[in-house]
Symmetry: D4
Subunit: 164 residues, 8 copies
């Protein structure tokens, strides 16, 4: 199976990004995690993107805050799907990272998920692999059913308590 790359612009993003790791783990999808900054280590970031496909990656998740360029810098150097996670930082509630990630110019898409949406970034990566991997698709379907069951269990508990 192809691997998923999880990059973050700073190790201070790790507490948010960690959910991507655990989600990929839960689905048995192999991954590699790196701290590369589009601005502080542009060479390493670029080299990673350029070689990602031949190194066996199927998609790249990139998380960054503020003027978040990491996902775009990846996208500029690979034709693999790049998934951007805008990270909320100390000001502007993540709006800066969201716009810096999603408003990419024509020719260079970044598949952007919600602010701090690390779980969804991982799920999107899995969905991408599952386009041609029926077993993984089956796992996604199963996770959906579990998810729905959890909601309905919450519903049952609330309904029992409040609906006469």
């Amino acid at each position: 199976m192809k691997k998923i790359a999880i990059l973050m612009g700073s190790d201070s993003d790790f507490p948010v990004v960690e959910k991507a790791l655990t989600t990929l783990d839960k689905f048995g999808v192999p991954f590699e995690v790196h701290v590369y900054s589009a601005h502080r280590t542009p060479e390493e970031a670029r080299a990673f993107a350029v070689n990602a496909r031949e190194n066996g990656f199927g998609a790249i998740i990139a998380a960054a805050g503020k003027a978040a360029h990491l996902a775009g810098a990846m996208a500029a150097n690979t034709t693999l799907p790049v998934i951007g996670i805008p990270i909320k930082s100390s000001t502007l509630d993540g709006l800066d990272a969201l716009l810096s990630t999603v408003q990419m110019p024509g020719g260079m898409p970044v598949a952007t998920v919600a602010i701090d949406g690390a779980e969804n970034a991982a799920l999107l990566a899995i969905q991408i692999l599952a386009v041609t991997d029926e077993e993984l698709a089956e796992k996604l379907r199963f996770a959906r059913l579990e998810n729905a069951k959890n909601v309905l269990e919450k519903d049952r508990m609330l309904a029992e308590k409040y609906n006469k």
Copy 2:
């Protein structure tokens, strides 16, 4: 090759969405286009999503404006990757559609591109298919080179005119 679905919430979105069709066409990627509204034709929208994988689709592009729920409604009913295009309408400059599309809750990713970013939505869909399709990946690389050549040609013209 798997097909790409292009859905829009209203036929008034077509002038923006059309760029997705022409982009897919240019890459020789088969697609199917539909007008389905998450609110006005919820049943048809849902049925399309539920059956998309077995109907041979590899990804779903969904374009909608205002309180843009179409991409999310697709995502809720398929485990295929869903790509959301927020459409700018007469007020708020597309911010409403952007937030309605990208801020999805945990468990249900929508791969969001820029406001009115139809070309990038198509390119992202192609990238997704190209994860396991080397020929398509090659076409993407070639398009990148063309794209770069165009920029550098513009650079040459401007430099010639203004740099002494």
Copy 3:
């Protein structure tokens, strides 16, 4: 008397939504509460909306955060009035939920109240029932008088302390 439905997209919304329950209780209006997610349990959500009128409901209150589609998903499947409560979550201060709830396309209104405005959602539902229920209208008038009396009591205390 017709019942009011109170739906929330996640049980984590309950601390905010609870005020809707207590408000309906105070007015003696029957209600039913459910956790249904537009994305995680689309079928149950849809089924609830489709059958709400014949199950004796007079209005549906739907609370959700982020890309809040629950109220819109209700509205798409019933002709009962649907009242949307945008829930503030960890980023963007509720603006995402507000725009996702209020900016509905033509043909599908959602009666949106303030961010986290659970009390007002309940009062609006009661006002809707009170259009044809003079006794309930009387209770609303009485509550307004109480409300005004409370304000004026606060005024009296402040005036006494600070106005010489």
Copy 4:
């Protein structure tokens, strides 16, 4: 049948508000239209609200732009449901009117629809009357079917032209 009141803060709002009139007309719902300003004619606005219920109204639609207080001023003086239409004016793209209309304090709900959402305001008013008027509910269901048919007809045309 109870009447619907349609108020606007300025006659310059009429081109947007007109859609509410035509929508009510289409459903055979009687209405009365007025230009009352919360600021320039506070007495007339207040008197209208105070007497609306006994004058046979079932709901009040109030449209205003900028620091839009008209809907709130109505809500403060009646226990009928008040529906607010935020009107976009020359600056801020309607955000000012939206926040001024929807962010009402506890105790005084305004059922807010989208910016410039006059059609939805009328439909919401009709839904409110239809809670206890099965014939009107039937008309709403029929309009929904027509609406869906239109979307599907647009879908058919687009599909015919572009789907091979």
Copy 5:
């Protein structure tokens, strides 16, 4: 000397508004404080505004949060200068109150100060009285000098510590 009225929409605004009282006190300007809500006590609010001039007031300060209509409701019922303080509440960081207060329609000005700017509201009221009261103007000039002296004292301390 004319009095200044200080109104607030809710007694929960008092901790912010209190600075207006202490500022007026410091300048020896008489004031009267009230809790009146544009929505919950519209009659009392209106009556206060209508009679304010003949009751000896020279300006009205009105503080309110969310869809803040209090200052506008005052302005609609008096020709005295009305000063609006937008109050930050639990969502949107005061932007809703700011726009609801400042974006008044033509004909009805509200002199708006910064979000939670109670001290400045009081100073503005004093400036208004000081247009024709030279003694008060002198006090304002003196306070400015004190204010500047404080800044320069801070400057001296910092400069001493850090400038070699």
Copy 6:
């Protein structure tokens, strides 16, 4: 009678500001108009403010766009009431000018009116003079009545045409 100063940061603001001149004229209030920029002519701007009171001015209206500092620069150099008009320019719809004008620090109030609100700026200046000028107050009351009459005339025309 004291004069009103009308300053603008650029003569390109004149088409918006002109309404302030015509409004003051209508009320017979003397004024003086100047183009002074807080940034391009800081000395002239400052000198004007410093001498405004002794030159017979009762209030200063300052209009500026973008990072609008003119009103604040006036406020820093006079204890007269300063009224700020945020001017909408080619980007951000006037939000930059609004925040630059209204969010003044403690000690330095600027009485801010709506974006492009030149008429209201003039009316506020007149209200300030009218605090101690009963004749002017009478004119303001009369203008209000005219204003209300105009609204009610519009109401009559609309009602005649649409209310059966």
Copy 7:
């Protein structure tokens, strides 16, 4: 004298950026203009930045719209001062480009000017060179005087026409 580099992400930015060229020309400051995209020609962009200092440049101006990464990509590859011009494009009024340009992470400053502020970008570059170039500093002082004279001439004309 060191040269100024003027880069833009797309030749469609040229109509805005042109003002930077004419401003540098007016001051006799040599410059070189290029179209390089952070995303479409990352290698050329990077190479330019890496070699800029030894190629005789004293500062780099970078203009880009949407998720504007060009200035940041320059900053990551040179220790020369980088000046960013956020370009307004078809949605969001330039806010996306502003935040993508200004909100740079610690260690990598971009000197950001106003949205579409090409003239100021050039002036800032000139000011940087003028730190150690007294002749250039003199030209800047002279331009300021001219600028002030223009404002005062506008003032004179307006004052003549409107001040009695």
Copy 8:
């Protein structure tokens, strides 16, 4: 070597601004720090700017919150490069200070860094001095290498722990 001035509008900004001092210190760049307010001490602020060049300064850093005019007031009175730090205060998350600082009118640039971006302000000042100071440029290059090394060390630790 020329000195860098660090001004702040209030000593309450010091905890944020302090990072600029320590950064300049680390690079051995001399500086002078002052508390000057554009509004409360306009004369001292102006005098400082007017004399800055001849007093041996090479650039001015100005930090202020809310309607942040300090950087603009500096820029209006010197032709030295002025670097603005928008300071986040209790409301609006620094957006007010950002727009007040960056949206300067033509002719008066302020080199704006990120909200609370004191370290970057200092680095930008150093970059400006380093245009003609090769030794300082060398220090900047070295700091970049250190910075990159830190990121890669973080990368190594994370990779070791999570990449199998």
